[in-house]
Symmetry: none
Subunit: 230 residues, 2 copies
């Protein structure tokens, strides 16, 4: 059984993660913390004699009192061998790099659905099982294979008709600045047709990642613009 601490400032989201966890066999909820200091207190309590230890932390990077990276550093300097899965809405490569460098084992970008959640936790379970099994030999091959199970690449589920590459290009442009794009503007910029740009923008609006607004003023039918939601 892998005991998991959920750290997330929004109570609703924290509950959702806890419920996701409840549906997964092999995992047990060890607690919920809504601040970084609460998380560190729960963790230090769990290391006491007789208490059930915590194996894994689902750690939101955005917390009211301190940065998620800071929480992770505190865990490390306390010499606790607790694994961390980072969860964040921040789309910033340097943050990803830093998170990996402080030893997070998985990186989940919000918003995500149950399948993405399951994939990350299952792969962690596989990794954890290998490295805690005393029968595992300490050979280069065994270590490589354990790391591989952690970093296995699984195909992300996209609706039919959408390509991961194109979606990546659209989100990269949209998320870069706080400006709203119309389908036509985006298509000009990326070398796509308006129809295709619209398809991807509508998808992002559908999953709540983009907000739709009407651009009034000129003559003719108003233009619809899409703004990235953080």
């Amino acid at each position: 059984m892998i005991r998991v601490l959920v750290v997330e400032d929004d109570p609703t989201t924290a509950q959702a993660h806890a419920q996701y966890l409840g549906r997964l066999p092999g995992f047990a909820l060890a607690g919920i913390a809504t601040t970084g200091s609460a998380a560190l207190r729960l963790i230090s309590e769990s290391t006491r004699e007789g208490a059930d230890g915590i194996d894994l932390v689902l750690l939101d990077m955005h917390l009211p009192d301190m940065d998620g990276l800071e929480v992770c550093r505190s865990i490390r300097s306390a010499r606790l061998t607790i694994d961390v899965i980072a969860i964040t809405a921040v789309r910033d490569l340097p943050v990803v790099r830093e998170a990996i460098s402080v030893g997070i084992v998985q990186y989940l970008i919000k918003p995500f659905g149950y399948p993405a959640f399951v994939e990350k936790l299952e792969s962690f379970a596989s990794y954890h099982g290998r490295l805690t099994d005393p029968a595992t030999p300490t050979t280069q091959a065994a270590v490589d294979s354990a790391l591989a199970s952690l970093r296995s690449t699984a195909p992300g589920q996209l609706p039919k008709g959408l390509a991961a590459d194109t979606l990546g290009a659209v989100t990269a442009l949209l998320a870069r600045a706080d400006v709203a794009w119309s389908a036509t503007e985006l298509s000009d910029h990326l070398g796509l047709s308006r129809v295709t740009a619209r398809r991807y923008l509508e998808h992002l609006a559908g999953i709540g990642q983009a907000a739709r607004e009407s651009r009034h003023g000129g003559s003719g039918r108003p233009e619809i613009e899409y703004r990235w939601r953080r």
Copy 2:
């Protein structure tokens, strides 16, 4: 260029690692340290204004003054985003787990030969290149794929279905110029079928050696082009 610091208590072994590094294009030796404190001093000097930063540390776990894990923790608490490859003769699973938890990206067990060394550093170069490339979109798929390039495939062993000489022909053509090839173009040029060309190009994309892009514009489903990654 990836700047590397070699940390190893035995001078002969340290020299050997530095020589291995010298034979690898894309990497530069930033220094050699034989103790933990010397390593930390070199690292803190390298972060000064005007100095060349250190990107990667080849860190032996066994050092005269302090544990390699302790060196790693010090780097973390100094908030430096420096990646670490652990090198050790210790065959102990808990040490492996703890090393991974403090954020090492690769784990090399001594003794190892040049091929194993190359494999670990090349896969790191691929990972590093992806996460420092500003063109990389911050999507779940991109992060997963960057992490996947850290996953090592056993040295010299190709996935089943791929032949070494065919792969050689493909990489030779791809790497020659900075143009992107579609699977069909490549197959025409090499006298292969499109299916086979695609297999090898997908393999290169999977290990991060090629970048995939969609070629939009014309009518019909877009063509995927593959560009060599340096």
